[in-house]
């Protein structure tokens, strides 16, 4: 009975707070000054049509770098928690609970879909500065592609050494592009180290597409690593 009270009371109080928040909420009719500055400056100063990508990969790119560090840390801790020798493999047994073959539907579906999803991921990453998308979203799509491939072929082993090499390389290049911003432009991770190009073109907005690709590769590798770890 006391347990029930300790649950109901916080929920009720939280509900009252939320009800007050929702009741007093009124829709905004104009942008706050900071948002207005971002909306005006990202297309003009950075040459990126997508304001959100401009914020994520230039004005707040340092936060994005920290966030990638968090994802890396999570990949490392998942590896630590779930690492070690896979037991099933060393025993070499094949039981009904862990089939080595998936059904034909999944295998054929994966054969068709995996290349298409990979192309879609590349599209999302490359068009991050033009349309909704970017490194994180594309990286997540790459990881979903890896997940589908693993579902279709449970025995397939991802080469973890190559994955971590690519991940480290992408992270290193991301920081190097940032340092180039200090040397040749306004500051760390400034995108104007490369020419801004034509507004709305694929190769435009300075270093933003480059950073987007590096971010996509890094996030894709880290999420694939996490998926791979959960399999054993």
């Amino acid at each position: 009975m006391t347990r029930r009270a300790t649950v109901v009371l916080p929920i009720a109080l939280l509900g009252i707070i939320f009800a007050m928040v929702a009741a007093n909420y009124s829709e905004r009719t104009s942008l706050p000054p900071l948002a207005k500055a971002y909306v005006e400056r990202v297309p003009q100063e950075l040459g990126a049509p997508n304001v959100i990508t401009g914020i994520l990969l230039t004005y707040r790119a340092f936060d994005t770098l920290g966030e990638v560090a968090v994802v890396f840390m999570v990949a490392a801790s998942v590896g630590l928690l779930l690492g070690g020798a896979p037991k099933r493999e060393s025993a070499g047994e094949i039981d009904a609970d862990h089939p080595t073959q998936s059904t034909e539907i999944i295998r054929n579906g994966a054969d068709v879909l995996v290349p298409l999803i990979a192309v879609f991921a590349a599209y999302i990453v490359l068009h991050g500065h033009l349309s909704p998308g970017g490194g994180f979203q594309g990286g997540a799509v790459i990881a979903s592609c890896v997940l589908l491939a693993l579902l279709a072929r449970p025995q397939y082993r991802i080469e973890l050494a190559r994955l971590s090499l690519m991940e480290s390389l992408a992270g290193l290049l991301f920081v190097l592009v940032g340092v180039a911003g200090i040397a040749f432009a306004g500051g760390f991770l400034d995108n104007r180290v490369l020419p801004l190009g034509d507004f709305g073109a694929l190769f435009s907005a300075g270093a933003i597409p480059v950073l987007s690709v590096l971010l996509g590769a890094k996030v894709g590798c880290e999420l694939s690593f996490i998926i791979e770890r959960f399999r054993t």
């Binding site: 916080p10 929702a22 829709e27 942008l31 909306v39 914020i55 994005t64 996490i226």
Partner: protein
């Protein structure tokens, strides 16, 4: 009742459901699902408070020219924050699930009633 207030109420309700699920359920996987629901609700709240009446996505193209962008775009800052929050939420869920796997290996059960070592 405006559009964004409905979205806001939905997000707040999801947070409540998530907290309720975390507090009442004894199965670790259900607690993790409650946590995910709470995270999703907070993402919806973040996006809802960034809405500006009559606004559209802050992407400059033929439909939204540079001149009319400041008056017709939604706030890009909460959207950028939501991207961050989604990635961090996914990462935390991955760590939670990894812990759940290890806890199951140690006690062969997912009920938190079996894990009394750190209970006072």
């Amino acid at each position: 009742m405006t559009l964004s207030s409905i979205v806001l109420a939905t997000g707040l309700a999801l947070i409540l459901i998530g907290v309720w699920g975390m507090l009442t359920h004894r199965n670790i996987l259900r607690i993790i699902i409650g946590f995910s629901l709470m995270g999703t609700g907070s993402h919806i709240v973040i996006v809802a408070i960034g809405y500006v009446a009559g606004g559209t996505a802050p992407i400059i193209d033929d439909a939204l020219t540079l001149a009319e962008a400041p008056s017709h775009a939604v706030d890009p800052v909460p959207s950028a924050l939501a991207v961050t929050a989604i990635v961090i939420g996914l990462s935390i869920t991955a760590v939670l699930l990894a812990y759940a796997v290890r806890l199951y290996e140690s006690k062969k059960t997912l009920s938190i009633d079996a894990f009394t070592e750190s209970k006072w």
